[in-house]
Amino acid sequence: MLNYLWLIILLPFAGFVLNGLLGKRLGKPFVTVVGCGTVGLAFLLSCWSVYELAVDLPSYAAAGEQAGFSVDIERGRADLTVWEWFPPVKDGGAAPALAIPWLLTLDHLSAVMLLVVTGVGFLIHIYSTAYMAEDPGYWRFFTYLNLFMASMLTLVLGGAFPVMFVGWEGVGLCSYLLIGFWYDKEENAQAGRKAFITNRIGDAGFVLGVLLLWGAFGTMEISAVMEGIRSGGAPVGLLTAAGLLLFVGACGKSAQIPLYVWLPDAMAGPTPVSALIHAATMVTAGVYMVCRCSALYEAAPAAMMVVAVVGGSTALFAATIGLAQNDIKKVLAYSTVSQLGYMFLAAGVGAFGAAIFHVTTHAFFKALLFLGSGAVIHSLHHEQDMRKMGALREKLPVTYRTFLAGWLAIAGIFPLAGFFSKDEILLGAFEHSKALWVVGLVGAGLTALYMTRLMGLTFWGESRVDPHQEQHIHEAPAAMKYVLVALAVLSVAGGVVLGWPWPPEMHFLKRWLEPTFAGAAAHGGGEHAAASVHHISLGTEMGLAAVSMAIAIAGILVGLHYYYRGRGEKAEAVAKRAGLLYVLVKDRWRIDELYDATVLRLYYRLCDFAHRVDVRFVDGIVNGVRNVTVGSSIASAFWDSWVVDGAVNLVGYSVRGGSWVLRRFQSGFVQSYAATMVFGMFVLLCVYLFMR
């Protein structure tokens, strides 16, 4: 299977083509089967591939050379060159020739992402069949969703930066298409554009970073670049610059300060999209990319520090905004931004394993929370305002119970998934810098608080649902329910299974990722997660876990105090006392307005200036050319009508005039002809006689 990796990408892409071309005509059952079937098959193939990667790699190595296929047993990696995109040029020049193979890489890191993307993606596809059942754009939705899966898998499996970038842009496109899925509403289209443009800013950084690395190492293959860095092939300054540029790209895709503003607006899309793209998979692409380039960041401590600081501050900053949002999806969106901040915090302190671990668990519980909120929204006929919810626990028992699991998981309560991954991140931060650890802890407390607030406003307290709606509330359909249950199971058990931290060799995910992240530590740039654990005694570790648990529980208790009963009056009183602070938080610290006033205003000025240059200068040239052309045309027309036509007419007139004279002789009188003839004879005779 490893040498057929491209099938995993091709399947959803085929689904995209089929649904896109035929979906509208062949109807919903066809779309459902193709849309879910291809992704399900891709999931099975992924499982098979990862199994072979784990177990069967030596036999592939033993099978000998295959064209375009190679395995690296030590690092646990399989490389498959599907196609020479830009074939290598053999000119022997001094400049590095641009060669880009269409390279797919399956190593232990991409294996994790592959399973998360296809697995969670498949569940969300199934959920969507129920959620989108009534939508007239059903086939369009699944077309985009399949294209997204194909792009995301290209991103994950891409073994060369440009291949990864194709996926990177593909998911950006799908994100744009799906945010604006209900494009007949102006603000949805606006949100899609905002996401797209903000991401472009990041992508510019990504491309520049890649080109910098290419200039230094002469290859676009990620693993080759990383090996080059490990063997100390480039100055630290260049690596720092490249790392920072790549991180700009990651900031755009993964919604970090200062480019996070698009993600909350992206909630305009259908809820399964928010779950799949804007929580579980696409937004983690930045984290994945940073982890992919772990060697680069470890060789550039300054860049790493920036990653950690940006991640930590985003985690805290977004959590504060999450406290005061009233739209259920907006809360989850800021929560996602905050959790992504945690992942970057982990990557920034060198705990790449912990970052990927959190990516995985976050995919489980955030998908669960989004899909749960989708079920709530679905049951309330697209009501998203939490102020119009409340007391839904009896009305929606399954959604409520699964949501409970997601809530406890994200709050970091032992032994649910979030606890293990967040704890690992905080551990890494503690080791690196106490300040970052405190920031992380406060963020964790806020996370517990705003999630409890969400639970309270939605499921507990008194009902504030519109009385007309009250009797129409219905539990989600089967397809949605079972997906919620499956994700709830993953959220509960995922942490224990993947990351039980003690003894260290029990930590499944860490050991699995070791071959990918190992080897970096040898160069002393930083330490990876597996090594770092041993620097800290078990007692400290337990103590830290206890502290973070205590913070989480404190957050939950505060939340329960304010939101468990009543209609949230207690919280309103606090908000009133907080005054301006509350307003600021509610308005998202007015960051969007700040951007409007600074960046956008400047940008509009620039546009205005460019417009003026265009009108005055460029248009001037164009108009000048036009005027010259018109003038010369007039001259040419004058010449043509007077001189050329004049000559032609002159010939006509002279012929007519001459014939007018000659015509006089043809009078029709026979005798005048005869007289002429006689006269002529007479003249001839005279000539003959006298001139002889």
């Binding site: 015509r663 043809q666 009078s667 029709g668 009188f669 026979v670 005798q671 005869a674 007289a675 006689v678």
Partner: protein, 100 residues
Amino acid sequence: MVPTGHFLALSAVLFTMGVIGVLTRRSALVIFMSIELMLNAANLAFVTMARGGPAMEGQVFAFFVMAVAAAEAAVGLGIIVAIFRRRKTTDVDQVAQMKW
């Protein structure tokens, strides 16, 4: 024997009478007769010049002219009859349609 010059003088007088008749008379028939006069003046000149010599060309030419004159008379009279039937006149000044 009458000298040759007399014959030629008569021929010239006859020819001149014919030319004057053609140029001045209006009736097609009279014009026609004047043409015959001119032909016969020419014939007289031919036979005069052939008189006394061994060569026969003059006489032969006179016969040719007579043959042509006969044919011409037939065709010409036919045309004149046709015109008369159509226009009830033989005045050539009335038949001047053939112009530009």
